[in-house]
């Protein structure tokens, strides 16, 4: 195992860099730029039981700290992913993926997770209870700990794969949420999904996104996410994957210092498709500068 390797609930990644769900498709698009096997793992586009066509255009806006999106979980559905996408993916990608699952009912989460749980390529299940861009589902599971716990319990019954839950900053009491998820059997946490926000068009004064609001991501949210990881890490005993605003190798070090065992990178994959490669090359230099041998020893350094 190299100096960058980390372990998530028994799943060893040769590096902690995980492209975040929705910013790496199903792995094929970044392959135009680099060998996608360079990533530690990646999280597939949020997948639901049935195909979804998502929100109308515009789905994207920009701001001084990154971007907003309201894609609305467009995806071909779990069956098509397993039948068509995974076989094609296995030909070019030889590591595991995080199966990012979204749903509109406890049953939907459980069904999707059960199906993904049988797939060799799936390293762990990432329950997205936090998408701000769909109505009636997604995020509502992310704001109420009881509902969220019921999702975890249902999913744990149907799969042996580690189950990680991706939380939303819109949750009014994130600490209680995380502890409840741990108690319900979650194997790990992903902190965090996007922040609710919006932009208005200069000329018309109306919302830019067809959906009105969208999810804010990118460097602008980094210190907010970092604070949540720092707050929650000492209070739970399951691993945290940090996610939000990471755009450099220094950010990776900082997020792991706050308690993250691995790091998801989203917006930066769009800004610069080669960012993961660049960060991966810089990490060993930073480790040397810090006099630290193994990256995994950085996790939770703030508390030592």
């Amino acid at each position: 195992m190299g100096e960058l390797s980390v372990t998530l609930s028994g799943l060893t990644l040769d590096n902690p860099l995980i492209p975040a769900s929705g910013t790496f498709g199903y792995g094929f698009d970044h392959a135009d730029f680099f060998d996608v096997n360079e990533v530690g793992s990646f999280s597939i586009k949020g997948t639901t039981l049935h195909p979804r066509s998502g929100n109308p255009l515009p789905r994207i806006a920009e701001y001084g700290g990154g971007m907003l999106n309201a894609v609305g979980l467009e995806n071909p559905g779990v069956h098509a992913v397993i039948r068509d996408i995974f076989p094609a993916l296995s030909k070019v990608y030889h590591k595991k993926v995080l199966a990012n699952v979204s749903g509109f009912s406890v049953e939907e989460y459980a069904k999707c997770a059960a199906l993904f749980g049988r797939e060799e390529i799936v390293g762990l299940i990432e329950l997205n209870i936090s998408c701000p861009n769909v109505h009636g589902g997604g995020m509502s599971f992310g704001t109420d700990p009881k509902t969220a716990a019921s999702v975890v319990e249902a999913v744990k019954k149907v799969t042996k794969k580690p189950v990680y839950v991706k939380c939303t900053p819109q949750c009014p009491d994130l600490l209680t949420m995380c502890r409840t998820l741990e108690a319900a059997g979650a194997d790990g946490l992903v902190l965090l999904n996007t922040f609710l926000g919006m932009r208005l068009d200069f000329k018309s004064g109306k919302p830019i996104l067809a959906n009105g609001t969208g999810g804010v991501s990118g460097p602008g949210v980094f210190p907010l996410v970092l604070q949540r990881i720092y707050e929650i890490y000492p209070k739970v005993n399951i691993p945290i994957i940090g996610c939000g605003g990471v755009s450099s190798a220094r950010d990776v070090i900082e997020m792991m210092s706050a308690g993250a065992a691995a790091v998801e990178i989203g917006t930066q994959n769009l800004t610069d498709p080669l960012s993961i490669i660049k960060i991966k090359h810089e990490l060993p230099l930073l480790l040397r500068e810090l006099g630290i041998k193994e990256l995994k020893n950085i996790t939770g350094r703030a508390f030592r």
């Binding site: 929705g22 910013t23 790496f24 498709g25 094929f28 698009d29 970044h30 135009d32 730029f33 586009k45 066509s53 998502g54 109308p56 255009l57 515009p58 789905r59 994207i60 806006a61 920009e62 701001y63 700290g65 990154g66 971007m67 999106n69 894609v71 467009e74 200069f202 830019i208 990118g218 460097p219 917006t267 994959n269 769009l270 800004t271 610069d272 498709p273 080669l274």
Partner: protein, 245 residues
């Protein structure tokens, strides 16, 4: 090969009101087809700016862009020596067969990718007619350039009560295979008045420009399609205009 390239700025100047010409020379030659685009990193902005290739000669990429908002404004004021791009992106226009007729329909800055298409089609000995519409005569783009090419050209102006669609009808061009780029309203109207086969180059706000984020995915006749990777050029039979309202 699709990739990230650092380009030296060879020229960067105002060539029409609010419109800049930018010549970029990448480290290595990038093969482009007409209708493809690049995604340009504007320093200080998170998202890249997609720009169609106006022409590509001897490895130098010509871009033509209009001041639209803060990003293009910052680009126009950029004083560095290099710029970073992703290229080539998207599928270009299907080129006409040798000797075929082709009608080029362009509105405003949408005329830019048609210049590249025109040059390639001329190389194939095609017979070209162009109808380019602008807001007013002072905002005409590529007038000299068109004059130097063997293209039958109609220029029309909103300020004079004419536009691409009205000229199309008046001149009886609605039966010629076409390639069109411009504002959605114009394209939609073109679709309604023409009968021939045709292609539309579309645009929308993009997240990545290379297919990864679904930020540009839109309902087309054959299903959801990403404008960046499955387009930006689409066959007229594919486009559902309601998706662009």
């Amino acid at each position: 090969m699709t990739g990230e390239y650092t380009c030296v700025i060879r020229k960067h100047e105002l060539t029409a009101p609010d419109t800049y010409t930018l010549l970029l020379e990448p480290e290595q030659e990038i093969p482009f087809r007409p209708g493809q685009f690049i995604d340009l990193a504007v320093p200080g902005f998170s998202l890249r700016r997609p720009l169609s290739v106006t022409d590509c000669e001897g490895g130098t990429i010509r871009l033509t862009y209009q001041l639209t908002g803060p990003g293009t404004r910052a680009l126009s004021e950029y004083s560095g020596e290099t710029l970073n791009i992703l290229a080539p992106l998207g599928n270009g226009f299907l080129l006409p067969e040798r000797g075929e007729k082709l009608l080029l329909l362009g509105g405003g800055i949408g005329t830019a990718p048609l210049i590249f298409l025109a040059r390639e089609a001329l190389k194939r000995g095609c017979q070209l007619t162009a109808v380019f519409g602008f807001r007013s005569p002072d905002r005409t783009l590529f007038q000299k350039e068109l004059a130097g090419l063997d293209i039958k050209t109609f220029l029309c102006y909103d300020s004079e009560g004419e536009n691409v669609v009205s000229v199309l009808k008046k001149e009886g061009l609605a039966g010629i295979p076409f390639a069109a780029c411009g504002p959605i309203a114009m394209l939609w109207a073109v679709d309604e008045v023409t009968q021939a086969p045709g292609q539309f180059s579309l645009e929308c706000r993009m997240g990545c420009g290379f297919g990864a984020c679904m930020g540009c995915s839109v309902k087309m006749r054959s299903g959801m399609r990403r404008i960046c990777k499955d387009g930006p050029v689409f066959d007229r039979k594919e486009v559902l205009w309601e998706s662009f309202r």
